[in-house]
């Protein structure tokens, strides 16, 4: 099932000197597999994790994650 949240993590990693998924995972205390799942839109991280990701790239949360209410069944 598709999540109503998309993200720009792949582009942000690319812009940050081609940071690898493993590097990002290590910096926020997650596994590489979870970063891959977030990038593919298969997993929505907790608010804390989302803020940690935004903090690593030095951007606001909205620059990392976008909410699409029209795709939200609730």
């Amino acid at each position: 099932m598709a999540l109503p949240i998309s993200n720009n993590i792949r582009r942000l990693r690319f812009d940050a000197d081609e940071m690898t998924q493993s590097e990002l995972a290590d910096r926020i205390g997650m596994t590489r597999q979870t970063i891959a799942a977030i990038e593919k839109g298969k997993y929505a991280p907790s608010l804390e994790a989302a803020y940690r990701i935004a903090h690593v790239f030095g951007v606001p949360l909205d620059d990392v994650f976008q909410y699409h209410p029209e795709q939200d069944g609730k």
Binding site: G29, M30, T31, R32, Q33, T34, A37, Y43, P45, S46, A49
Partner: protein, 132 residues
């Protein structure tokens, strides 16, 4: 594949090996009511699971200590399915022991089920209070 997923594969494999051997021996011994090597099976299960986990930890030492919120969420969701199977099995034990008039087993199974539900409700209330 994360270490937690590898761990799930290991447990599935061990369940299939021990379950297969145990099931086969039960069939050969005359069915579900036959005398069996249940304690040995439990020991084999634990030893096999530990040994394979250690071997995989050594092979994939880099991520063997890593788990995160996604791993925990997946484990919780899988726990719900496992608990449902366990509850159904316990209800079957109660039904069979009542049929056989084995009151001790029926009482232990019933009280165990009651205790588990009670602890779950109590813990749920605590968590609602703490996080509320």
């Amino acid at each position: 594949m994360s270490f937690q997923e590898k761990s799930a594969w290991i447990l599935l494999l061990v369940c299939l090996i021990v379950g297969g051997l145990y099931g086969q021996s039960l069939i050969e011994a005359g069915g579900i009511g036959a005398e069996s090597w249940i304690l040995t099976a439990i020991i084999i299960f634990i030893v096999l699971a530990i040994v394979i986990h250690i071997a995989v930890s050594i092979l994939f030492y880099r991520d063997s200590d890593k788990s995160d919120e996604r791993d925990r969420r997946i484990a919780r969701r899988a726990d719900i399915v496992g608990a449902a199977v366990l509850n159904a099995t316990l209800l079957l034990i109660i039904a069979l022991s009542l049929k056989e008039e084995n009151w001790m087993v029926a009482n232990i199974a019933f009280l165990g089920l009651l205790l588990a539900e009670g602890v779950k409700a109590f813990w749920q209330i605590i968590l609602y209070r703490v996080e509320g």
